[in-house]
Amino acid sequence: MSISESKSVWIFSEDKQVAHELLGKGRELAGDLGVKLEALIIGQNVSDQADEFFAFGADTVYVAEDPMLNVFQVETYASVIADLITQYDPEILLIGATKRGRELAPRVATKMETGCSANCTTLNIDGTTKRLLMSRMVYGGNAVSTQICQTNPQIVTVPPKTFEKPEQEERIGNKISADVKIQESRVKILETRKRELIGARLEDSKVIVAGGRGIKKKEDFRMLEELATTLNGQVGCTRPIAGDLKWFSEWIGLSGLMVKPDLYVACGISGAIQHLAGIRDSKIIVAINKDPEALIFESTDYGIVGDLYSIVPALNKALKENLGK
């Protein structure tokens, strides 16, 4: 195997959108190293996705197809990826840090006795060592740790929406039908209750109006919805609201969705660091909280200290007037 073939940058995500995002960053890293960008597609009847992957920047696509790979199963997918790594010896492997990706990457890394950096949001090639510099939030979002992996492949997981999906170009690539050993999963999926997706995904929203424990009843979120409507945005919440009270199915924060809207309006959110870590990259953060000591105020651009029950409707009215709605 020649060096240019053996030292490529690989990307994988079971979520096609995330895989496309990774191709953008992967292209850049492969360019810096002067190596090929290669992608893995795993599933059943997925071979025709390869063209799209080429258009987004892949030089090579390895396709592993089998009825057993129809649904993501961590043991099965980890065995396939490890087998491919053993056969082709990549330098770097980027995996989308979806929940599935986050349980897959460490399993693959352990099979290969290599390191893995989770949830990295900045990736660069170090000019001298040519290793991948990976940055991730640690200590609940209080600090950013920059690290390198000394063994190959250097495995890293990247949260969805961290990098922009690249422009598609007319390109062709090399499609390789992978010959892999597949380990059957010992976990059986009995049922999947799909979450209802109303409208666009929260991560895609330019404006998010979010509520925390300061919201007393589920019905009171209507106030936030009205404000969100005025701003063409969507409503989100913190982990206690979704996880404990179950008023919503997903939450914003380090353990949930990482968001970076242009405008984030935090209503009755105290500002637990895990939550702040999930909104850190928002362009403008606005907070409304009755406690002047609330942590959220340290991380906001604009804030009002006061009762959100009178401020939110009044703000909605004032914005409508200012926007001429």
Binding site: A105, A118, M137, N142, A143, P292, D301, A318
Partner: protein, 262 residues
């Protein structure tokens, strides 16, 4: 009867962490340590399973000698035996090395049916130890579990994923990681705390485990930390206080419009 191993991390209390303003480096010295939140859910789940099915709970941790305090807390919650894996050579372990030490400790403990870990740790937040341990011990894994039950030798669990809830089952032995929605960890009574002080805590070093030095600590780690600094967050911090609502919202509305973000 179900023999459960719970993996627990004595983590830095990240809420108490301070940043050195001159270097922007987090100051970890003197920061209190506590049981990582999700690991308390893991202990609680183990205790609830034991209450239903009988059995034993062993709480394993890799850490400094002071992690004994956290182990005692878990024994007060209902754990039976503690196991502290501690050695100066373990310092600086990444998830590759940590999972190796934990796996060796668990092998030395002997037979088990179930390993329960927290979904992630409050300080590292990598969610890697569960899956890495499952791989090392050749176990199936069920992650992000928000409810679970044991029926004979089958674990049935609900997993919380982005696109919905997945209901799965697998035979023991296996490893699960739990979310903090799965239960509310109990506060041990004074009686339980007193009783826990007589429970056994095994303390094993690198030589007790027979682990070579080049597989643990910094030497056995693949990840090298280059630097750790607090991110620069430049926020305007314009806080409107003590103004009538109408006036305050008008000021805010104008500011938002002026930012050009809507």
């Amino acid at each position: 009867m179900v023999n459960i191993i719970v993996c627990m991390k004595q983590a830095l209390d990240v809420a108490a962490l301070k940043i050195d303003p001159s270097t922007r480096a987090p100051v970890t010295i003197g920061v209190p340590r506590k049981i990582s939140d999700f690991d308390k859910n893991a202990v609680e789940e183990a205790v609830q399973l034991k209450e239903k099915h009988g059995g034993t709970i062993t709480v394993v941790t890799m850490g400094r000698p002071e992690a004994t305090e956290s182990i005692k807390e878990t024994l007060a919650m209902g754990g039976d035996v503690g196991c502290l894996l501690t050695d100066p050579s373990f310092e600086g372990s990444d998830t590759l090395a940590t999972s190796y030490v934990l796996a060796e400790g668990i092998k030395k403990l002997g037979d088990f049916d179930l390993i329960i870990c927290g979904e992630t740790s409050i300080d590292g937040f990598s969610s890697q130890i569960g899956p890495r341990l499952a791989e090392r011990l050749n176990l199936p894994q069920i992650t992000y579990v928000k409810s679970m039950s044991l029926d004979g030798d089958v674990v049935k669990a609900e997993r919380d994923l982005e696109d919905g809830v997945q209901v799965v089952e697998a035979k023991i032995p296996l490893l699960v990681t739990v979310t903090n929605e799965i239960n509310t960890p109990r506060l041990p009574s004074l009686m339980a705390i007193l009783k826990a002080s007589s429970k056994e805590i095994k303390t094993w070093s690198a030589s007790d485990l027979g682990v070579p030095e080049d597989k643990v600590g910094s030497a056995g780690s693949a990840i090298e930390i280059i630097k750790v600094v607090a991110p620069e967050t430049k926020r305007k911090n314009i806080i409107i206080q003590d103004k009538p609502v109408e006036e305050a919202v008008e000021e805010l509305a104008r500011a938002i419009v002026k930012e050009g973000v809507i």
